[in-house]
């Protein structure tokens, strides 16, 4: 229970370096609709799927065959596959979200890669359930951050920001200040 709580808090709040990714959101053209939610869903599903597969791959193929060195390339393959697969599923069942997510597909790839890097380096997962759970939680934290960030961006876009700082620049500053704030809770999680 305690570990799960730590994982939850840690993953939701402390992965603030993901915030650097958020700047990209502002650089992309503004689309009608809410791409944040679409990206959040896509990333969440893809990450859960890939972390489950990665766990199975790692424990049932790479470790027994003494091929741990193949970890990174194998994971990358898995992530790409997972993203494409999730997109296909979304296309079937949530075409509107899919439409938004495809515009940001490169971003989804990068997010998944960055987030799974944390997962992999962490390697806390002892069971398959743990792997799936941490994938979900990290994605949930990421989605929450996206939502918070986009709600803030909505305010900032109508602000009277000095010309040189409009757009991506102020988005990065916002992300920076967000991570400054998150440092307050960073010390909560034993590293």
């Amino acid at each position: 229970m305690n570990e799960i709580l730590v994982l939850l808090v840690g993953a939701t709040l402390v992965n603030y370096f993901v915030l650097t990714q958020l700047g990209r959101l502002a650089m992309l053209p503004r689309l009608s609709g809410k791409p944040e939610i679409a990206i959040g869903i896509t990333t969440g599903l893809a990450l859960t799927l890939s972390s489950a597969c990665a766990y199975l791959l790692y424990h049932y193929l790479l470790v027994p065959r003494d091929l741990v060195l193949l970890r990174t390339p194998a994971y990358m393959l898995l992530i790409v596959t997972a993203v494409v697969l999730v997109c296909a599923v979304m296309q079937q069942y949530a075409p509107q979200q899919y439409h938004l997510a495809t515009a940001f597909q490169p971003l989804v790839f990068i997010n998944c890669a960055v987030l799974s890097a944390t997962l992999i380096n962490d390697n806390r997962a002892d069971t398959l359930a743990d792997a799936v759970f941490s994938g979900l939680v990290i994605a949930a934290g990421f989605s929450l951050m996206l939502l918070l960030f986009s709600a803030m961006q909505e305010r900032v876009t109508v602000a009277d920001v000095p010309k040189p700082f409009r757009g991506a620049a102020i988005a990065l500053i916002t992300a920076g200040l967000m991570s400054l704030a998150l440092m307050g809770v960073a010390s909560l999680v034993p590293s």
Binding site: R155, T157, V158, D160
Partner: protein, 523 residues
Amino acid sequence: MSSASSPVYDFPGGIYPPENKSKSLRGPIRTTALPPQLWVAVTQPGFAMPLLCVQAGEHVDKGQLLARGSDSAGLLVHAPAAGLISSITEHAIPNASNLPELCVVIDTDAADSNWHKLLPLDWRDAAPDLLVERIAAAGICGLGGGGFPTHQKLHAALQQVDTVILNAAECEPFITADEALLREHAADVVTGCLILLQITGANQCLIGIEDNKPAAIAALRQHCTDGRLRVVIIPARYPSGAERQLIQTLTGKEIPSGSLPVHSGILCHNAGTARAIARAVVYGEQLLSRITTLTGAALLEPGNVEVLIGTPVDFLLQQAGVDQQQLSRLFCGGPLMGIELPHAQLPVTKTTNCIIATTQRELPRPPPMQACIRCGLCADVCPVQLLPQQLYWFARSSELEKAEAYHLHDCIECGACAYVCPSHIPLVQYYRSAKADIRDAHARQQRADHAKQRFEVHQQRVALEHAQESRRRTERAALAQPALPAAGNNTSAQDVVAAALARIQAKKAAQASAPTVGKDEPA
């Protein structure tokens, strides 16, 4: 009868601006002298083209019809006094746009004798339709400020409402026209209420009046002998006199967004309108005059006057002893929802309930607006529970879809938000502009969809006609062919191909368009 039994409900928000009402209530209602010239606006609802019934140079009698609408929905305009029509021209009138509107200019006769009244009716026996017709014939519109033709409102309400509400709240500062009216003419107002009950078949009439008008309440109580009438005293708070807020206060009902009070079984009329209805039915008088408050620190003799429609404002101001040195700004209506007048060369219209001549101190010009600090004071006072500061951001950045999602169209433009805004942001103006933009956008989209549909039907029709035409041509060609067998192989081969193509096309077109076209084009 008793007000004790009537519960009073609450509505959210509201403000308590200084009332400034006592000044204009010191004396009785005065009658002004006959002005030398009247400018009678013949504006129709929705700025539709009025149909004029008189010509320049013609002499009109008091009560003679000047103009009407192009259909039954229009508003009749009568001559407020006898005189010669010197011209019919566009003239500035009190309106927000400051654009001139068509006015009939009457040079009044000093000897103002006979009034062409309508026949008095015995309303107790009259059929509702007849009464509504009479109200239309008297040219009555909402005197509270809306100016919507009363007969239109009543048409929609026939057999639809169970409660008539008389709006005597008069919550805006400075305005005392209804209060003065009730003090002196409560009997007429009560008769008006009874006529409204007779027309609508409603079973009760609630008279909503703010608790800061004890004399008017006493006068009303004295005349309310009918059991269906109830005087309900409501706490003084702006905007308790706004239609939906008054209904909420008196009945506890919220009128659903986008629907009219009539759809909830409620009809709301202003006290002045009720009096005009009574005068029209009982005495056959057309709406030729109204009670208007003249007030403001720049007037030496503020008060309420019974004024002919079309009387120039500067004439009224002179009668009330205006101090031109002190006069800073002029307003028509109250300080919260009224309009600022560019000058005094404007006529009184049927909706002019108050003229305020202010000094610099009384209602100073707004200081320059500052940035919104999201203090939320505006949200606290909003009677509709909107989020004014969010709407402001959306309106400012023209995010119309979001403004719509935050229910901008439910804003009643009461001005409470801007009244309390510490940054002095003209919020209401932002909302008005955004609302108009949204309306325009919707109208555009509707026009586009309509045009698209018509264009598609048009295309189908054209295709069908082409197909029929080419079929006829091939048929004619086929008939003509035996007569010209030796005209050349080339031509006939081409004809055959063309005919075949045409047939295919015709079949296709017929298949594609048959069902729709069949319906739309009976020919």
